[in-house]
Structure formats: C-alpha cells, structure tokens
C-alpha cells in the first residue's frame, strides 16, 4: 500500500519524469466525481473535515445535476516505492455538447482512466470520449467503479471493456469510489503505466489552454498545460491566436485550492491569472507563449467554439428585458461558446437570439438565467443553422426561421450529425425505425457483446435537437445511450412553415422543416393553437403556410355568447370583480393583429414543442 508523499514535488522545479497527467473518462453518473473526491482524500490534498461531495464541481447546477461543465486540474502528490510523484488530474466535461472542451482536456494528458459503472457497462458517450483518447495516443487504464453495488456485474463488463480496448479482462481494475476500495491501487497504476510528459525544457514557452473560467474576484482564471519551456510570474505572455499580450499577475497550481508558484515548467499543469475579464480573451485550445521570447508555432487543434443550436429567449415580463441582457452579459464572461444578439418578435416582444453548443448547453444557460437572475423566460423552439443559396447565388446563413429568404431558392444545406447509440440488442428494430423516421442514414452496427450493440447513423442535426432523446429513451425502455457529434452538412428539401392567425404571421411559431414533415408540423401547430387560443368576437382562421401556399388550416369559431344571464342585487359585486379580474388578465394578452392570444398559449405551444429532452443529464 502506498503512503502519501513525504516531500511533494515543488511546482516549477519538478522533473517531468515524476509528473503524470491524466483525466477520467466516464459516463454522466458512473461516479467520476466521487472517485475524484476519493483521490483528493487519499493523496491528502483535502482534509476529511474540508471534504464536500463532488468537490471539483463548483457550480450549484453541476452539483445538483451531477454534470461537470467546466473542467479543472488538481495537482496531487503521491509516493510509490519511496519515490515522490506529482499527479495532475484534469477533470473533463462529461457531456457531448462540450466535445471540443473534452478534446482539449485530453490533449493536455498522457493517460486516461476509463471509468465504467460495474452495474451498467459502457455508454455511448464514454465510448466517444474513449475513441478521442485513443486517437490522441493516451494510455488507457480501465476501471470498473461501484463494485460495492449488489447489481454489479464486474465479470461481464470487464470482458466488454477488454474487448473494446484490447486488454486482458484481468487488467480491468475494480474500485469503489464510495468505499474507497481500490483507489490507492489505481493511483499506483497511474504512476506505473502513464508515461511522463516530454517537451523541450529550454525552448520558447508554449502552453495550451484547456480551460478558462471567470471568477468574480480574480477575473479570468486560465488552466494550461505547459508543453515546452516555462512560464514565470510577472512575465508578459502572448495569446498566439490573437497576438494579445498580458502580464502574468499570478501563476500556480490547484491543490485543489489555488496555490501560487514560482512558475510552471515543462509537463506541468496549472493556472494563470492576467486580469482579463472575459473568457473570450483566453480561449480554450489557444497557445500561450512568452512575449519576450515567443514561440513561432502554435500547438495544433485550436478551434473557435461554434454554436450549433439557436433559440430565441424572451422575458415573460417585457420589462425584464434589461435584466436578461445584463444576465447574458455576465454569463458570457464565463462561457466562450455563448453567443447572442438582440431580436424582436412581433408576438413575444424584445428578446435575444442565443446560440448554444447543444441542447444541454441551452438548458443549462436557461436554467442559470432563471435561477441566478430570477427571470421567467419563454424560449422558442430550437433550430440549427442553415445555409440557403438563392437563385442569384447569394448565400444566406439562417439562424432564425425569420431570416429564411422569400422567393426562389437554389438549395438549402443543413448540418448533419454522426450519432452512436448503444442499446440492448432487442431494441435494434425500434432504434432503426426511429432514426429512419428522422431521415437518418445508417453508417454501421457492431455488437459490443452478445446483448449490447452499437448503432451508428448519419442524421440531420435538426432532427435530433427536439425530442429525439426522449423518443429514444421511451422506445428502448430507457436503456439506450446516445452520443453525437456534428459531421458535415447535406443539401435537403427544406421549407419554412409559417403560422398565420387571421392572416397575420406569428413569427415565434415559424419553423424550418423537411418538406415531408411540413404538413404534419402545420397540422400539429394549428391544432394546438386552436385548443389554446380562446374564441374571439371574430372568426379566427389559423393557417400553416409555405410561402403563400396554405398547407393546413383550423378555425376558431367566433364566440357567440359572452354574457352573464343573471345580474341581480347580490350578483353585482361578484360580477364586477369578475370583470376586474378579466382586466388584469388582459395585461397578459399579446395582440397578433386584432387577435388576443394569452401568453400562456405561447408558452404552452412552444414548450411542448421545445427543448424537452436533455441528453443524458441526471435530473
């Protein structure tokens, strides 16, 4: 059994040979945070009295949902056979919306712990990240967690893992983050198997940013992995993507609280503080170099975050618009992927069109806006980004159905996704039927074991951002796991369906859909609105239209009787109060032309259509 380190290696003066940089690849609820907590305890960097569950997940939402959104790095000392080591555990986001952040975290490591729930086996998301890790030539240490559970089947899942990564089932470690069994052995394996980092000690400094977090008191805290050379306090550094130069106000390591150091040397992982206030000035994937002796070549793999899903966010109370604007401005400081611009909807008033990495990202932002800023919001149905080429060759990028051009169109391109679904084999038919119905093209199918199969499809992104995951779950009794990544685009027969109330277009309900689905969308939406909008003094036709062609129509018949038949002495107070209540209710009506639409109708029509599903998050 390994003791805690006696002389922990000192940052900036640590031989790369005793450094081990690793991350943990795990499905959302397979116990990564609990294992990480246990490691913090075993290595002595967190005292038992300071321990709180899921120590590294700082935001409330992360802790409640069990999702790690922002990764962090912790330096832990460890002693094996009398030698002291410095272990850097880089915590990766567990969700596919954050694939790019995952890839940068992996790029900062030499090895990865593959953590699988011994009662559930590997899930699609884990598989995806495992592929990423193996492509980065990371050394994989396979681990089954939760072996203390009565339902654990370690033999079965060890065989499954062995089949995937090509090792012996006996090499799969068995641990329990909950009881601590096997955790020290795991730390020993990390030291023994994961290669030490290598780099040019004397070359120009190059450090890769794998995370960037806004802190109210300190400004942006940037997490880096030093690849070559070293970085020192007070020196000027340059961000190679922008050429911007900042002074290093502080440099140090997390253990897990930040501890300033005399710098960071080759192979080390730590944090930088420069005083910038916006994470956009310290972008994930960018290379940090010394301004005095700059490197010439950036570390590869940098990409700008690209929003994939757009939705309109509107305050239910129009006077909250400035609050929403300030709230988005604040969240943006900590989220380089969040983009937004003001938007006006005839029906919903002033709001913002907001771009997200994916649906979970959307939900997290929405939830934070509602929770941290006390906002009540309506969000329009999410849509993807389309490239529309008009007859005259002009290409228009459409992030909002209202931007979809009128008139003749040469082609519309829609973004595609590669999805991987892992499911018990009895559900293959159900999954194929669902994917086919969503215009998916099958790309392959592999048996992971006798009972579990991996199914791959190429499918329009737009088809999976609505209720796909919910449908998948219900058709597979909850057994399916889903992973997706964007993968190119395709030309598709897409149209914009508008919804008209008494001839007036209701922008919030416009939708871009495949031609084959336009009719069903039109029928669904007109039918729903017929139920939600109260009868008016006039007949109100509700139409769904493609351009000027009506494809579906419902009618709200004119109200014929709107009078209380009895109004005698004792009824007067009651009747007046009823009218006064109606007057209050009127304030929550939105006018579309001369049609009164209750705000609740918008919310109901949009919410059941909207982002109901969340891909894999714990509730």
């Amino acid at each position: 059994m390994s003791p805690m380190a006696i002389h922990a290696p000192v940052p900036a003066a640590t031989d790369p040979a005793v450094i081990r940089n690793f991350c943990i690849i795990a499905h959302i609820d397979h116990g990564k945070s609990t294992l990480a907590d246990r490691m913090l305890q075993s290595t002595g960097v967190v005292q038992p009295r300071d321990m709180k569950a899921q120590y590294l997940d700082r935001m409330d939402i992360e802790r409640e949902r069990g999702i790690t959104i922002k990764s962090q790095a912790v330096r832990m000392p460890w002693n094996v056979d009398g030698a002291d080591y410095a272990l850097n555990m880089i915590d990766t986001p567990g969700h596919v919306d954050f694939t790019y952040e995952v890839s940068r975290s992996l790029a900062a490591c030499e090895g990865a712990i593959l953590l699988v729930d011994a009662a559930q086996g590997i899930e699609a998301q884990t598989l995806a990240n495992l592929y990423l890790a193996m492509e980065n030539d990371l050394t994989i240490i396979p681990v089954l967690n939760k072996i203390d559970l009565p339902s654990a089947e370690p033999e079965k899942y060890a065989a499954e893992i062995a089949g995937l990564i090509g090792c012996d089932p006996d090499d799969v470690l068995r641990v329990s983050g909950k009881t601590g069994v096997g955790v020290e052995a795991l730390l020993d394996r990390v030291v023994a198997e994961i290669p030490a980092p290598q780099g040019n000690t004397d070359g120009p400094a190059r450090a890769m940013i794998f995370d960037s977090v806004y802190d109210t008191y300190r400004g942006v805290v940037t997490y880096v992995r030093v690849v070559d050379g070293r970085l020192s306090p007070r020196e000027k550094i340059t961000m190679m993507s922008t050429g911007a130069t900042h002074e290093l106000l502080e440099i140090g390591v997390s253990s897990p609280e930040p501890i300033p150091s005399k710098g960071l040397a080759v192979g080390e992982v730590g944090y930088l503080i420069t005083g910038v206030k916006d994470v956009r000035q310290s972008k994930v994937g960018d290379t940090v170099t010394s301004a005095a002796k700059p490197a010439t070549e950036r570390i590869g793999g940098y990409e700008d975050p690209k929003p994939m899903v757009f939705s309109g966010l509107y305050p239910i109370d129009g006077s909250d618009y400035p609050v929403l604007r300030d709230a988005l401005d604040k969240l943006k400081l900590n989220d380089a992927a969040l983009v937004y611009e003001p938007e006006t909807s005839v029906a919903l008033g002033f709001g913002f069109r907001v771009g997200f990495l994916g649906l979970l990202h959307l939900e997290i932002i929405r939830e934070r806006l509602e929770r941290e800023f006390d906002l009540a919001l309506i969000s329009t149905a999410p849509n993807v980004v389309y490239e529309v080429t008009r007859e005259d060759g002009q290409v228009i990028t459409v992030t909002n159905p209202s931007e979809f051009p009128e008139g003749k169109i040469n082609e519309v391109r829609e973004p595609m996704a590669s999805i991987t679904i892992i499911v018990p084999s009895e559900f293959i038919g159900a999954v194929m039927e669902l994917c086919q119905g969503k215009r998916g093209q099958m790309r392959g199918m592999d048996y992971l074991s006798e009972e579990r199969v991996e199914i791959r499809y190429w499918i329009p992104l737009a088809e999976i951002i609505f209720d796909f995951f919910d449908q998948l779950k219900s058709r597979t009794k909850g057994y399916a796991s889903l992973e997706w990544k964007t993968d190119g685009d395709q030309v598709a027969d897409l149209v914009k369906v508008d919804i008209l109330l008494q001839g007036e277009q209701v922008d919030a309900f416009s939708s871009i859909t495949h031609k084959d689905n336009a009719y069903s969308y039109g029928v669904m939406m007109t039918g729903k609105l017929k139920e939600l909008i109260p009868r008016q003094q006039y007949e109100v036709p509700i139409q769904a239209a493609i351009g000027s062609r009506i494809i579906a129509r419902e009618n709200i018949r004119a109200i014929r009787k709107d009078v209380l038949s009895k109004c005698y002495g004792g009824d007067i107070s009651r009747k007046r109060k009823l009218l006064e209540k109606q007057k209050e209710g009127k304030k929550r009506m939105k006018m579309v032309g001369r049609v009164e639409v209750p705000q609740e109708a918008f919310i109901a029509a949009l919410s059941s259509e909207g982002a109901g599903s969340e891909t894999g998050a714990k509730k």
Partner: protein
C-alpha cells in the same frame, strides 16, 4: 342570489353607514332625481336542492334558533327593525319602499301569513309608496288558490313562478320536482287573485334540444304571463351539477347552443308581443309603453338603493354595498344579540363604480346614457371610438347612440360582456 359572499371590508357591529351615504341621498333628492328605495327579503328554504343551484338555500326545516321555517318570519322582521334603526342613526332620510321582492330559496314554503306579516312590518317600518310593486318568487307546487289569494289580500301584487321548462326530461336533469301540468293551474290561481304573473325559464340544459326549448317557450306563452325571464343554465362551481360536469359524468353546457336558444326565445317572445327590456327579461308590452317590467329588478340595474334582509342578502345604499352573514343560524344569532347581521361591506372606488354603471346599464333596452363615459380619465374619448366600432360591428344600436344612449342590438345582447369590457377600456 349566489351563496358565495364577495371579499370586502368588515362591517361595523352597529351597522352604521358612512356619513356620505346620507349626504348623497339628500343631494339626489334636492337635484330632483331621488334615489328610490326597495326591499329584498331572502327566504333560505327549499324542499329540494336543485343540482344546478348555488343560491343560499337549505332543505332542512330547522337550521337553529331563529332559523327554522316557523321562526324565520320573526327573525327577518327583527332585521327590518334593525335596518330602520341603522338608517336613522346614519342620518339617511326616511323613504317609502317603491318595491319589495321576496326571493329564495322558495319563499312560498313559508305560510302566506308569514309573508304577509313580514310585508306588514316593512309597511310599518318604512312605509309603502303608492302603487308599490310587491313580488314573491314561488314554486308552482308550493302555492294554492287560497295561499295566492291570501298574499294578494295582504298587499302582494306580483308572483314569479319558477317554471324552468315544460319538458319532463329537462326538469329531471335540473332536479326540479314540480310537474309541468301544475304550472297552468298555479298561473290561473294567481290571475284569479289579481296578481301579475311572471314565469322563469332556463335554457341550454344539457340534453335539451332546440325543439324542447321551443316547446317550453310556447308552453309559457300559451299561459299569457305578464312577464318572462329566460336564463341560460350556468354551471357553477361547488354545485352538484358543477362537480358532475367536472367529473365528466354530466355533459357541460354549450354556449353556441345557448346562443341559438336565446335567439329563438327572442323571436317567439317578440312575435307574441313581449319586449326585451333587460338581457334576460321580457315584458308583455305590445305597444312599447314600458308595461309589466319588474320594477324591483330595474332598481338594481338603475343603481338605486335597496335593503337586503335575510341570510347572505346584499344591500346597496348610494355607493356602499354590504352583505349579511350567510348561514341562517349565524345570521339569526347576530340579530338575537343586537349585532348587525351584515358581515362584509365594500365601497367601490370611482373606477369600480364606473364599471358597475356600465355593466348594469348596457344590459337594458333603455341603455346607458353616453354621458356616463365622461368620467373616464380621457373624458371618454376612447370609449367613444369603441362605440363607433361597435356600431359598425353591429353590436350597438347606431340611432340610439346618436341620441345619446348606448343600447345593445340583438347580437350585442349575446356579447354584452364584451361591450362592457370595450367601453371600460380593456
């Protein structure tokens, strides 16, 4: 009247009214437009609770001290004495009663002598104006030739029968116990006694066809009553009917069906010489002379003054509304201990008063004088725009508007609440 009391301020134990009530009454009198004074007497007893009814009524004979059928007349006359004391103490000038109305419940469950006795005490306490209208509601089964004659002899001038429907299956759905064939004899006795007769009808009961409704209206007209009230069935929460609808075991009313039936009633009644003068009320008045209208109810719609006696009864005096304890036992208990039976009171502010005036006035064939709108903050400019729009839409009578009255058309009567909202600016 509905049994649920509105929310209001607590009323003082001595029932004393604010000083401006007396002032307003005097001012109206000296301006040559005196506020008329009426009495409503609530009788909270019924033989059977009808499933649709949410009125403040009870089937038990004895609801506690002072609240049994036999002691009720004594209790309610006690309130008349109390009322006279309150009015005098509040400085309100004495006024004779222009109208008296006994409602319920089923007032005729009390012996005619009791009703006459209550009326007699009202005459003693307030005085009856010459030609005063005195009405009682009655169930066709709860009267006899003799009881009606006794009422007429005691000063009653009018009886309003709850006929509801002439169709047995409709009456059954409504839980009405009377047999349709009893109505003609009751009407005949009333006529013989010299009483004016009004018939109450209900339309739109689930299961009632348009033909059923026609049968009912024609049956009523065949009796040539002086007055007809026709109400659409309202499903009230808290009634047996309401909960059956909620549970889905009873079909709900259909407003379109009720609209059709209203139009049919208007046509049949008009052809027979009856004129509408309020949304749900028609009077036999072939020459359009304002004959046979229910003057008591007109007082409500014209925003006049009345005292409401009995449990849960509402009163209105020059802008102050107040109401009595709902349960007959609680009501009697208060009176017995010298405490005002009134438990709640409200004084609607200017905006609320305006809304009341509008909502009451546009229910009437005499309409609302357009000058009422001048009190709106914008001097009525917006309301006048709405009036023009509603004339164009066929909801308001354009000629009447030019002459300064807001009067709904037939279509407007069916959408009267929408007219109120638009005049009130929402």
């Amino acid at each position: 009247m509905p049994s649920i009391l509105p929310e209001g301020d607590p009323a003082p134990d001595d029932g004393r009214l604010p000083a401006h009530v007396a002032r307003r009454v005097r001012e109206a009198e000296s301006a040559g437009a005196p506020r008329t004074f009426s009495l409503y007497v609530h009788v909270p007893f019924c033989e059977v609770r009808c499933g649709y009814c949410d009125f403040n009524t009870y089937t038990a004979e004895d609801l506690g001290p002072g609240a049994s059928r036999s002691s009720y007349a004594g209790t309610v006359t006690g309130e008349l004495d109390f009322a006279a004391g309150v009015l005098a103490a509040s400085g309100v000038p004495a006024r004779q009663l222009e109208t008296v109305f006994f409602g319920g419940g089923t007032p005729t469950l009390l012996p005619a002598a009791d009703l006459v006795g209550i009326l007699g005490r009202a005459r003693e306490v307030f005085g009856l104006a010459p030609g005063a209208e005195v009405t009682t509601e009655a169930n066709p089964d709860s009267v006899t030739a003799r009881s009606l004659a006794e009422l007429a002899a005691g000063g009653f001038t009018r009886v309003s029968f709850g006929m509801q429907s002439a169709v047995p299956h409709v009456l059954a759905t409504l839980d009405r116990t009377h047999r349709p064939e009893n109505v003609p004899s009751a009407v005949g006795w009333a006529r013989d006694a010299g009483l004016e007769v009004s018939l109450d009808l209900i339309y739109g009961t689930p299961g009632e066809s348009l033909e059923d409704w026609r049968t009912t209206v024609e049956a009523a007209l065949a009796l040539r009553p002086d007055h007809v009230s026709a109400y659409s069935l309202i499903v009230e929460e808290g009634t047996k009917f309401g909960s059956s609808v909620k549970r889905g075991v009873q079909a709900d009313v259909d407003p379109d069906d009720q609209a059709d039936k209203y139009l049919l009633a208007e046509r049949l009644l008009a052809e027979a010489g009856y004129r509408w003068y309020e949304i749900s009320n028609w009077a036999l008045d072939p020459q359009d002379e304002g004959m046979h209208r229910a003057r008591h109810n007109m007082a409500y719609w014209r925003d006049q003054d009345w005292w409401g006696a009995g449990p849960g009864a509402h009163s209105h005096l020059a802008g102050v509304r107040f109401w009595n304890a709902k349960h007959p036992a609680a009501y009697a208990q208060r009176l017995a201990t010298g405490v005002s039976p009134s438990v709640g009171r409200e004084e609607p502010d200017a905006e609320a008063r305006f809304l009341e005036r509008v909502m009451l006035g546009v229910r009437l064939s005499e309409g609302l004088e357009t000058s009422v709108l001048d009190v709106a903050p914008d001097g009525g400019a917006q309301a006048r725009g709405e009036i023009a729009a509603m004339i164009a839409e066929g909801l308001l009578d354009g000629r009447a508007a030019l002459a300064g009255r807001i009067i709904p058309t037939l279509q407007g009567r069916l959408l009267d609440d929408a007219i109120v909202r638009r005049l009130a600016g929402f």
